[in-house]
């Protein structure tokens, strides 16, 4: 009975909310602004509409929803004090790292205070002998890898954007290297988090940085992927890896999507430790060619990379070349030198921007399903058919080694019908993935666009458990309301 009541209590207001055009950002009271000034300093509080709008959107198609104010704390204590003030005044809070998310995670659906942590930008600790580092939330992945360059170490998780590492923790991000080095889930050792009541915890204990642990509940991984709904991450301890001795990159075109994807599944099933195996359909290759000045054949393509010793790399690439040939690949093109390799992977990382350039002025709606690799060929083929049926501009690019691929649907934000078609397409794709034991989101997160798919994915009992957790950490529902879990917003 209680759970039904909670469900109704939660759903009804949300249904009402959907019918209002909640565009106006809630203005913050003067007394609150004064309190914020006293915590972070006047310079670090902005009420300017332009700044608020910048913080009310990310790289997704979701409509800009500005917060009432943006603050820039410069220490964990300040974050904690800001959170306490917001809690006292029942103001929603939205943590903001680099604003490069793809699911509208930072849009302040109910206004409130945007907590921009980018000024906390120090690499606090690097322990090369232990292969770990601790960073503040303003440190992005490129900044960290640049800092580490003389140590021979790197942090390999590489989503397309130069994202904040703590933001990557919040969305459980992944990248082209996940097939070899794992995603954020496998690479976060400890987090310092400011909870919705202002208290500060270290999920694995203060200063702890062990490669494994079985001490108590795994709080670290509770927060990885929580998308700012359970607290504000103010520190992350991450695993580092040795920069590969030797790398070799190759590009391989195929006569069909099936052949390309079959090749990638066979490579994984043969146990070859490929470092990157990325699928691009011909639409994506075209976009990349145009944007990055390349000249690849317009066909379903795999971009591959091998890491290891010279002999290891040669062995792996020979074996993969053989598998590709067996699948009628039309050529295995090696990127000869460092500059060429760099150009290739930059083009891959710029894929979304390349796609946006296909239709300037448009926004992107990206899908992010991940399925067991044996089901990938059928899912991608069916998806490509759907793209035709729904008449969408949608290049496909994917981390096929993980069974994860993206449709970057490029749409005109003013074309309501196109958006409607894209959403329906996305829903069908999400359900297609769920039907084969997959997930609706491999690495981008639920954000605000996939709430109903999450319910279908984890089921009623799963959602109820998640809601219990949310209720425990954030009884007032102030932390990033409207994201991840349905039915949470300010009363």
């Amino acid at each position: 009975m209680l759970s039904t009541w909670r469900l109704v209590k939660g759903l009804l207001p949300r249904l009402l909310l959907r019918h209002q055009s909640v565009k106006a950002a809630v203005e913050i009271e003067e007394s609150v602004v004064n309190k914020l000034w006293s915590i972070v300093g006047e310079k670090n509080v902005s009420l300017s509409m332009a700044v608020r709008e910048q913080h009310g959107q990310d790289e997704s198609y979701h409509e800009c929803m500005p917060p009432g104010t943006v603050v820039w704390p410069t220490s964990t204590e300040q974050v904690s004090d800001v959170v306490r003030v917001c809690s006292e005044y029942n103001l929603p809070m939205v943590p903001f790292g680099s604003g490069t998310g793809l699911e509208g995670g930072v849009n302040a659906l109910q206004g409130g205070v945007c907590i921009n942590v980018s000024k906390m930008d120090e690499v606090l600790e690097v322990n090369p002998e232990d292969l770990d580092t601790t960073v503040q939330p303003g440190v992005t992945r490129h900044a960290l890898n640049s800092y580490l360059r003389d140590t021979g170490l790197w942090f390999p998780v590489d989503p397309g954007a130069d994202a904040s590492l703590c933001g990557m923790c919040a969305t459980s991000a992944s990248g082209t290297n996940a097939v070899r080095y794992g995603t954020m889930r496998e690479n976060v050792m400890n987090l310092e988090v400011v909870l919705p009541d202002g208290s500060v915890i270290d999920t694995a204990g203060k200063g702890r940085r062990t490669r494994k642990t079985s001490a108590g509940y795994n709080l670290t991984n509770l927060f990885v992927g929580s998308e700012g709904t359970l607290g504000v991450i103010t520190k992350a301890t991450l695993r580092l890896y040795g920069i590969p001795e030797e790398t070799a990159s190759a590009v391989c075109a195929f006569p069909s999507v099936q052949a390309a994807v079959d090749t990638s599944t066979e490579v994984i099933q043969s146990g070859i430790p490929v470092a990157r195996i990325e699928f691009l359909d011909e639409v994506q290759v075209d976009a990349c060619n145009k944007f990055s000045g390349l000249n690849y054949e317009l066909a379903p393509t795999l971009f591959l990379e091998f890491h290891g010793s010279k002999s290891g790399v040669n062995e792996h690439s020979d074996r993969v070349a053989e598998i590709a040939r067996d699948n009628d690949a039309s050529g295995f093109q090696w990127a000869a030198d460092a500059d060429e390799k760099s150009k290739l992977w930059k083009a891959r990382h710029d894929a979304l921007y390349a796609d946006l350039a296909l239709r300037p002025g448009c926004k992107s709606y990206s899908t992010d399903v991940c399925v067991p690799i044996s089901r990938l060929p059928e899912v991608i083929v069916a998806t490509k058919q759907d793209i035709e049926v729904f008449k969408l501009t949608s290049p496909i690019i994917g981390h096929v080694g993980d069974g994860n691929f993206h449709c970057f649907i490029i749409l005109d934000p003013d074309d309501e019908d196109e958006l409607k078609r894209a959403k329906e397409f996305g829903l069908r794709l999400g359900r297609r993935a769920l039907a084969v034991g997959g997930t609706c989101t491999g690495e981008h997160g639920i954000g605000q666009g996939k709430l109903e798919l999450l319910v279908e994915e984890v089921g009623e009992a799963g959602i109820a458990t998640m809601k219990n957790i949310k209720q425990t950490f954030d009884p007032k529902g102030l932390m990033n309301p409207g994201k991840v879990l349905p039915g949470f917003h300010i009363n």
Binding site: D150, G152, P244
Partner: protein, 258 residues
């Protein structure tokens, strides 16, 4: 095409504050804060080392000697150079206090002496250091040695014992040919430097590092100019918004711009 001479390369590596650090001026305005601040190899020197290593990989260069002038910590920078692929290192020891006033002319003199000692016939330096932005050491070294200089290089090729260098200049690109031995300074687009990998960092620990002093080389490093003060750039002031073109024109006239 037979290359008659064995090319022996000297590369300069300066230890500077890392390019990503937010620089803070010391309260007494005598310089910038360097304590507990991340330092690394000058980025243009990384490019210089990378180019030398590529010449060695193409079997054009026979040996690469990395040189750094400064206090003990410069050895870290030299180890990075060795890890990237330099063969030997030379550390010209200058104590911390003298280092703070070590200037390009003194460095050029020190490098020239090392060049003679090591029988170098190609010097590759970064075009400038990102801390002082002097852009002088390469040019002065060439003058002291009486060698030709090819500065702001964005491409270097050895053709029949001469160097063909593409230089980045204001008007575009200029290709020159210089006789060897020569001094080249590296510009940004010359190459993208490799990262030092763990096995190479391990190997670098065993590569030879020679320690010398300026007096061993017979060089007087007394500075020739003094830095009087170092200040922050002026704080940016708020602008004003205008409502129309007429308004803009009026304001520009007020300021005497129109």
């Amino acid at each position: 095409r037979i290359i008659a001479m064995a090319v022996r390369v000297l590369v300069g590596c300066k230890r500077v504050i890392d390019y990503a650090v937010k620089i803070r001026v010391k309260p007494d305005r005598t310089g910038v804060e360097t304590q507990n601040v991340k330092h690394s190899m000058n980025p243009f020197d990384e490019i210089a080392i990378e180019e030398a290593i590529r010449l060695k990989e193409k079997k054009v260069a026979e040996e690469i000697v990395a040189v750094s002038c400064g206090p003990e910590k410069c050895q870290e920078t030299l180890r990075t150079a060795l890890a990237m692929g330099a063969d030997r290192a030379v550390h010209v020891q200058v104590d911390q206090q003298q280092y703070e006033s070590l200037q390009p002319l003194a460095v050029a003199k020190l490098l020239s002496k090392v060049v003679e000692k090591e029988k170098i016939n190609l010097v590759v330096l970064g075009k400038q250091a990102i801390d002082d932005d002097c852009n002088q050491t390469g040019q002065m070294t060439a003058a002291l040695l009486g060698w030709p200089q090819a500065t702001f290089a964005s491409k270097i090729t050895l053709v029949d014992d001469k160097l063909e260098v593409v230089r980045e200049i204001d008007g575009g690109l200029e290709t020159i040919q210089v006789n060897m031995p020569a001094v080249v300074t590296a510009d940004l687009r010359l190459n993208e430097p490799r990262y030092a990998t763990l096995p190479n960092i391990m190997k670098a620990k065993k590569k030879p590092m020679e320690k010398l002093t300026p007096s061993d080389l017979g060089v007087d490093i007394t500075p020739h100019y003094d830095v009087i003060s170092v200040e922050d750039p002026p704080q940016r002031e708020a602008g004003t918004k205008v409502d129309s073109v007429d308004d803009l024109v009026a304001k520009l006239k007020d300021k005497g711009v129109l």
